[in-house]
Symmetry: C2
Subunit: 86 residues, 2 copies
């Protein structure tokens, strides 16, 4: 299975890169962009027999390594299924 | 509306960061991860009157600034809708 992990800064954390991107998009002809956040996208290819158990495992990976939950939040998309947001 | 843009390296492009992440996950107790790719996640907050037109505009942003389509591919998720993959 493929799991897609989206990691982004929490709203209350200062994000200068996101601000710079917003400004740049506005300048090159996209004034409708009001704000932007830049984060990490991690795609995991997993070999597993148990899909349900694997969902917990991916969440575990996020807490242990992929996201810093003090300043970041994450969302997991399991290919072809609904998403889990934390 | 919110548009989520996932940018990742094309499969044929060397991704040392992805390999390092795979190895690290394997080492800390997740041997089921066979490979991983690390890319960018961009969340855009857009004020628009025309949702359909906006989809083309976000694709345009990807080609112009957000992704380097020589080595990267992108996927756009419009909140609450199906995704566009390029």
């Amino acid at each position: 299975m493929i799991a897609k992990v989206l990691v982004s800064l929490k709203d209350e954390v200062l994000d200068p890169a996101g601000r710079a991107l917003t400004e740049r998009l506005n300048n090159i002809g996209f004034p409708e962009v009001k704000s932007a956040k830049i984060g990490k996208y991690i795609e995991l290819y997993i070999e597993t027999g148990d899909r349900e158990k694997e969902k917990d495992r991916v969440e575990d990976m996020c807490y242990k390594l992929l996201a810093n939950t003090i300043i970041e939040e994450f969302e997991i998309i399991h290919e072809g299924e609904e998403k889990t947001k934390k």
